[in-house]
Symmetry: C2
Subunit: 470 residues, 2 copies
Amino acid sequence: MNHPYAVAQALRRPLPDSLASALRAHFGERFSTARAVCEHHGRDESPFPVTPPDAVVYAESTDDVAAAVALCRAHKVPVIPYGAGSSLEGHLLAVQGGVSIDVSRMNAVVSINAEDLTATVQAGVTRKQLNEAIRSEGLFFPIDPGADASLGGMSATRASGTNAVRYGTMRENVLGLTVVSSDGKVLRTGSRAKKSSAGYDLTRLFVGSEGTLGVITEVTVKLYPVPEAMSAAVVNFPSLEAAVRTVIQTIQLGVPIARSEYLCENTIRAVNAASKLGLREQHTLFFEFHGSEAGVREQAETVQALAAEHGGQDFEWATRPEDRNRLWDARHKAYFSCLQVRPGCRAISTDTCVPISRLADSISGARRILDTASFPTMLLGHVGDGNFHAVALIDADDATEVAEAERLNDEIVRLALSMDGTCTGEHGVGLHKIGFLEEEAGDDALDLMRRIKRALDPDDIMNPGKIFRV
Amino acid sequence: MNHPYAVAQALRRPLPDSLASALRAHFGERFSTARAVCEHHGRDESPFPVTPPDAVVYAESTDDVAAAVALCRAHKVPVIPYGAGSSLEGHLLAVQGGVSIDVSRMNAVVSINAEDLTATVQAGVTRKQLNEAIRSEGLFFPIDPGADASLGGMSATRASGTNAVRYGTMRENVLGLTVVSSDGKVLRTGSRAKKSSAGYDLTRLFVGSEGTLGVITEVTVKLYPVPEAMSAAVVNFPSLEAAVRTVIQTIQLGVPIARSEYLCENTIRAVNAASKLGLREQHTLFFEFHGSEAGVREQAETVQALAAEHGGQDFEWATRPEDRNRLWDARHKAYFSCLQVRPGCRAISTDTCVPISRLADSISGARRILDTASFPTMLLGHVGDGNFHAVALIDADDATEVAEAERLNDEIVRLALSMDGTCTGEHGVGLHKIGFLEEEAGDDALDLMRRIKRALDPDDIMNPGKIFRV
């Protein structure tokens, strides 16, 4: 139990035979207790060890999920929703045992309402799949975490990505949800109306609830017309500060940039190696501009001028779609490219987000803290939102490295909290940030969260052990 | 009790002498049971009769609010937050008696962070006051209900207004809150970071909770740089459908219009009379464009071309700030201008919002329903969001007129609900839409709201009787 990532086994609740029989009777071959299946569902992209559920159910419909939850509720056995498995914070680990409900087969695009700029999808649809489905309508869905995550998981963690600086996060882009509550009831939140003042905002309550209040089975999201024009640019800077100050001024001027990503020299080196690119290994910003032809030109000129004032150079354009895609594909893979720098390593990543005026201090502080590390580290992120990731590549079996990484992680998060920031901009709390949430939210706000949890899930069966200690 | 707006008195809870004494001891002259004071706090802009609280406390700080709530909680006496008194749905009426906590003296702008594009204000600060305070920084706050409402009240009702089509509503623009919970504790929700995945979204839970979960005492909001260029335009159309289809196409094309308001002939007539304008008394759209000089020109040209395709004429520009202000001032006063058409009347107003593809059917249906009315009616609203108001000017003492108005109101709301819309886009539920919320949300979602209410306010003292029947 001295290992920081050790998961307490004392709280595991047994899977009663009667529940296993009932689930098998209902789901047939879509119910499994096979070790390999359970282990696959007990891991994610976090540094925590595999913590398998006792069984897995493959749901194919909202009714399947409702049936599984109702059975688990009757036996007070935990339920863990599983989408694409790309959580970075241990959300999927069965720390109290129970049944993993895999929604990856719930991958139907239920409806596309191009005229309304909305779509409704089952929870297992991934962001790339949704974008494929709407491309012919001239529409796109902007929220893009690094992984090809499921829309259910993205809703549950309030995910965002590179486009959030212009288009917002899942918080702003989910219009409504279908949710299975802890008592196995199916309910709809929200409507397809763009705005509403009709009672408590249940949609926003479930977005970011990390499976602890119910299982999201369908998601209605906003879509956007593909802009008439798009262009991307890469700029190198002599220092971290110069890059960051360029972004801060861009935001403060109100330039409607679609994307503004910082990648440190180490990240660029990793990206170059993994994606066969020849980017200069310096402090780098990737930009993207969306709008009319004239609007995009105007935005780009403004940003280029700001960058030049801060010593930005080699302002390089990517206006052809294939060049743009290659750039952003490399950016999306950056996290996985970093992992390749140290084969066999696990990454631990901060996810702080601060008010934009504190970004330079926050990220420079993080750089100074990382500079003391005995293992490879990177800095990258969505700097236009004040959100960035400090990545440490560690040997998760080496307790000394783990302890060192956690200490650096703590320092970086505390620095952000001291700046009226948050410990997590987009990854969620999961297992890893429970302590930080306590500091950030304070006892009274956390007490309110717990009261909501108890009211909606009195037996604590919905993804127990995540977000807070009940 | 046959009058639709009669308020049941049976649920009134008495104000114990011991509570009155304790409040008087704490607040001195800022505690009042004077009849005139109580009656003033028992009315709003809704058609409901005056329903006074038993006492009023003038709070000057969050601690004042906390003290008042703690005392009321100890005596299980209702608490009703009171800001500017501009609710349209009966939110402020003391239907179970109790103490009105007037926060209008909490009117300090706590901090302006121009670099972060955020401000924190006390709950009694009004939208105009905030905009005055930030003007010299080159910033503005876009949310603009018709009245000069308080930021606390706007948060509590999830308000929006004419700019929401571009800038979103209070849902998107509140970053964090200070709230006094039902047990008199002071808690902070959110942070000043632009995005966060740190636990349940308590900010969004309190936004739109209409005082039923706690008293909002401070609000941190997003601000925006005043655009480099702005222009407004007025266009007349041969029919309602032509006007609405112009807006629908504008939205579907992704033109980032800042405002797009429809006003029917009757509304224009009322506005002309009240604001001394000479607008042509036809189906009319008001537009506003924000951006760079070139961007604004480009948006306006696109919209002008779309309007022309639908028979729009007399496309008239208002580029000078004073002309623009006169136009939008008239728009903001439209509701009150309508009231002047029938002296002594009360207005009842629908507030439906539908997916944009259903807007033409929804608003034409409303027009047909209103055409049968025996009293003056108007149609106006934020059509770019799919949100509009059907206004009926009635003699609230005439039970026949009231019944007729309520019947028309019902038909218009049911039509919107049948189109996957909402009964309230921005005014909130209050007393008037409790039945509609039941239809819209369904039993299971409403049950969840009630469970949250009971968890956060077990004695049902926070603005009881609003949003739903507990």
